[in-house]
């Protein structure tokens, strides 16, 4: 019973949504739209549940003054400010000041932090490449040679040094690289399909936990 109900829901909902992809039927379409909308509502509850976990962990950390508790204060305070201003703005859509405050909070705090995280990637690409391209083995050496050729083919100076660099780079990307990538992509697609089939038909119950 504990597992039977979720498995039945997965099978019925999954089959209906799958049928909707293949069959043109107004009732089926309306049912599928309703099911997807229910999914959105359930997801909204999930966000609430997850946020409660986040707040509980950090309140606990603050109250016990564990190492780094000051970071938790920053997180809880920021959450409180964003939620308060967000709700106030929604309830008072004509209040231009509140709207501007919410937009400013987003544009001048959240966005720069997100951009900074993304920018760190540039430095991490350099450090990861340095480690990966060290000629410790045949594979690493091939990786280094291929990377240098592709870089020379894409950088303007490469073509000035030897006009065949772009041709070699293009060949490496379109033939050698693409062959491997397509093989992996087909394998991933088949693996994903098999996993989905197992879950849809109830053969795979691992995600429901180990207990009965």
């Amino acid at each position: 019973m504990r597992r039977g109900v979720p498995l039945a829901i997965v099978f019925i909902v999954g089959t209906l949504l799958l049928l909707n992809y293949f069959v043109a039927n107004d009732t089926l379409k309306a049912t599928s739209t309703n099911l997807v909308n229910w999914g959105v509502i359930v997801s909204a509850f999930a966000v609430g549940l997850a946020s409660v976990n986040l707040v509980r962990i950090h309140i606990n950390k603050i109250s016990r003054q564990r190492p780094g508790w000051i970071n938790s204060v920053a997180l809880v305070a920021t959450m409180a400010i964003f939620i308060s201003v967000g709700i106030y703005t929604k309830l008072n859509p004509d209040n231009a000041g509140a709207k501007a405050l919410f937009q400013n909070l987003f544009d001048h705090s959240y966005s720069p932090f997100g951009s900074a995280m993304f920018a760190i990637l540039a430095f991490y690409v350099a450090s990861a490449s340095y480690r990966a391209f060290r000629m410790r083995s045949l594979e690493a050496s091939l990786l280094l040679i291929a990377a240098v050729l592709v870089m020379l083919g894409n950088a303007p100076i490469g073509e000035l040094v030897w006009d065949k660099f772009p041709v070699i780079s293009n060949w490496l990307l379109r033939v050698i690289n693409m062959t491997g990538q397509r093989g992996i992509a087909i394998g991933v697609a088949i693996g994903g399909f098999a996993t989905s089939m197992r879950i849809l038909l109830g053969f795979d119950r691992g995600h429901l936990g180990q207990g009965e």
Partner: protein
């Protein structure tokens, strides 16, 4: 009730490929067929990673990645759950702290219950704490910042990243390398696989991600499904070969059939 144009071939492929997979799965479950799996270094290394964390007295970090349970990334997330169950069993066996971080609020309750029950099944229910599974944020870089903070504050000794990953893959892999963690990663996102290969100690490439559950649990259903995948691959290779031959002779028969 009529079929939507352009979906006939997809339906036929789904039924044929589905029959292959379910057929082999049922045959394996009934003991008539036993697929063999080659050794996968990345999966073998998970025990080594947890063992190392135990020796150092530091936690193991696990993340199922960017994917959720309702989109096209869901199969990779579910494949990750199989590996997570195995990791929970290992941390219970070695009494090592586990930290699981989530981005998707939808998969959070599922992961929380999965981890709780895996500890219960291992006979260590007390090891499941409120902060064992942590929801960080649904926003990609806020989640990445939170995970990097955990790496640095809690000095994780092992970092296991299995699932669907986007740009945060390299942030995590390099962040983990900076704190000296042994790293095992795997994703079906090709663009990120290269980052994992470059920055991690062990990487699951492509479909190896989906072999994790079968390889680690030796469960007949998962082994059968994996065996069925091989037959589907053979059929796909045959279809590609026929298509290549037909295209060489300027025939559009297969292309027309596939667009029906």
């Amino acid at each position: 009730m009529t079929m939507i144009n352009g979906t006939f071939f997809v339906l036929a492929a789904l039924l044929v490929y589905g029959t292959f997979i379910i057929g082999v799965l049922v045959a394996t479950r009934s003991g008539k067929f036993t697929p063999k799996i080659r050794r996968i270094a990345a999966l073998d290394s998970i025990e080594e990673a947890v063992g190392r964390a135990t020796e150092m007295g530091r936690p193991v970090h696990y993340t199922p990645g960017y994917g959720d349970i309702t989109s096209s990334t869901a199969p990779q997330t579910f494949a990750s759950f199989d590996v997570l169950t195995y990791v929970v069993g290992l941390t219970a066996k070695y009494n090592t702290q586990l930290i699981v971080t989530c981005k998707s609020p939808q998969s959070f309750p599922l992961i929380q219950e999965l981890v709780r029950q895996a500890y219960l099944a291992s006979g260590k229910p007390d090891m499941f704490q409120e902060d064992t599974v942590r929801y960080i944020s649904d926003a990609q870089f806020a989640w990445a910042a939170g995970v990097l903070g955990i790496f640095n504050r809690e000095k994780v000794a092992a970092n296991i990243m299995i699932g669907y990953f986007m740009a945060e893959s390299l942030l995590f892999a390099e962040g983990g390398a900076q704190v000296g963690a042994i790293q095992v990663a795997g994703t079906g996102n090709l663009a990120q696989t290269a980052f994992f290969v470059a920055a991690c100690d062990y990487t699951l490439i492509g479909e190896e991600l989906f072999a994790g559950g079968a390889y680690l649990s030796q469960d007949a259903v998962k082994l059968g499904s994996l065996g069925g995948q091989d037959y589907v691959k053979l059929a796909t290779m045959a279809l590609i070969s026929v298509g290549t031959l037909l295209a060489t002779f300027n025939s559009k028969w297969l292309v027309d059939l596939m667009s029906k």
